[in-house]
Amino acid sequence: MCNHTHNMHNETWFMRATEGDLSAEEMRQWEAHLERCDACRQMSEAMAAVDHMLRTAPPPPTLPDDFTQATMARLQRQQQRQRWLVIFASILIIAIIVWLGGSALTSALASLSRTAHILIVGRDTIINALMRTTIGLMVSWRAFLPFVVMLAAIAGLWLMPNSVLATLTMLWISKRRQEFTT
């Protein structure tokens, strides 16, 4: 390794030398450095050899004559496959929508049906109960009559205004007094 010019042992000098970016004076310094420094000279020669090898490399093999046709055929196959995929995906999406929509519709109809059933059955039940009560009362009115009359009397007395009650009481007392005197 050379000890004369340490600052030349970096890639910037190599890069600038390779790119031809060195001034005349810098080029003279660089060449002087290469004469003194074995490592840099060997690397410079090896890189020049690589550069030459790459520039003079034989061309790649030729393409087959049917390359364009083969590529077109592959493109068409791929496009056809994509078209089928789109069709399949569309059918699948429609089927899912129909299935989910149908299921939701069925569910909604079932719910409506249940509600209607409850309403109809509930109304029937209430009417049925009222009818049964009415018929029951009509059949057994005699048994319940005293009870009903008593309840009505209590309710009448309870709800009667005090003035009416006082008047009735006075009439009852006066009538009893007349009976007693006669």
Binding site: M43, V50, P58, P61, R74, L75
Partner: protein, 191 residues
């Protein structure tokens, strides 16, 4: 003319698509071959890259040049292919490499053909030492003759970064070839 072809190809015109493939198949294949080092694989990946370019034409900005765009797709496809490869090379691959193939009767000068194949093999062997992106930069600079600005468009690297990568790639290949020469020398001395 090219702009018209691209417009027609975007609309699905088969003749325009064929014309575009015809125009760009060679640079695309060359880049793939230099990056992958295998003719059959390079043909397959070149087809894949061209098909990608055609199917993604709607993403191409016509105010730019088409060649760097299609080469960028080819480079990315090759990098993906290299990443998918198994880390350990198989001995069987050597036979598939275009550099090793021999077609008797195709050349009037078999000796020159052998030398050319060996030279090709040496180049591909040196390029194979590089990272995928460095291979792209080397291939575009040396064999496609692209300017630094065009390479920058293909690779998304700055011009100083491209120069630095080129330098390091040359150095890595120089070190590899020096090592190879030392191995060969020691082998012949022992033999």
């Amino acid at each position: 003319m090219e702009a018209e072809q691209l417009r027609a190809a975007k609309k699905g015109n088969q003749e325009a698509i064929a014309a575009i493939i015809e125009t760009y198949q060679r640079p695309v294949f060359n880049l793939c071959y230099r990056m992958l080092g295998n003719r059959m694989e390079a043909e397959d990946i070149a087809q894949e890259a061209l098909i990608k370019a055609i199917t993604k034409l709607h993403l191409f900005d016509p105010s730019y040049s088409f060649k760097p765009w299609v080469l960028r797709i080819a480079s990315n496809t090759c990098i993906d292919c290299l990443r998918r490869r198994k880390p350990e090379p198989s001995l069987d691959d050597m036979g598939e490499d275009g550099a090793w193939e021999w077609f008797p009767g195709h050349s009037p000068n078999p000796e020159r053909e052998v030398m050319k194949q060996e030279q090709q093999s040496q180049v591909q062997d040196a390029v194979a030492q590089l990272q995928p992106l460095d291979r792209t930069v080397v291939a575009l600079f040396y064999w496609e003759g692209l300017s630094y600005a065009d390479i920058s468009e293909v690779t998304d690297l700055t011009v100083p970064a491209i120069k630095s990568r080129l330098y390091r790639a040359r150095r890595a290949m120089a070190e590899h070839l020096t090592q190879e020469a030392i191995h060969v020398q020691s082998y012949t001395q022992h033999a």
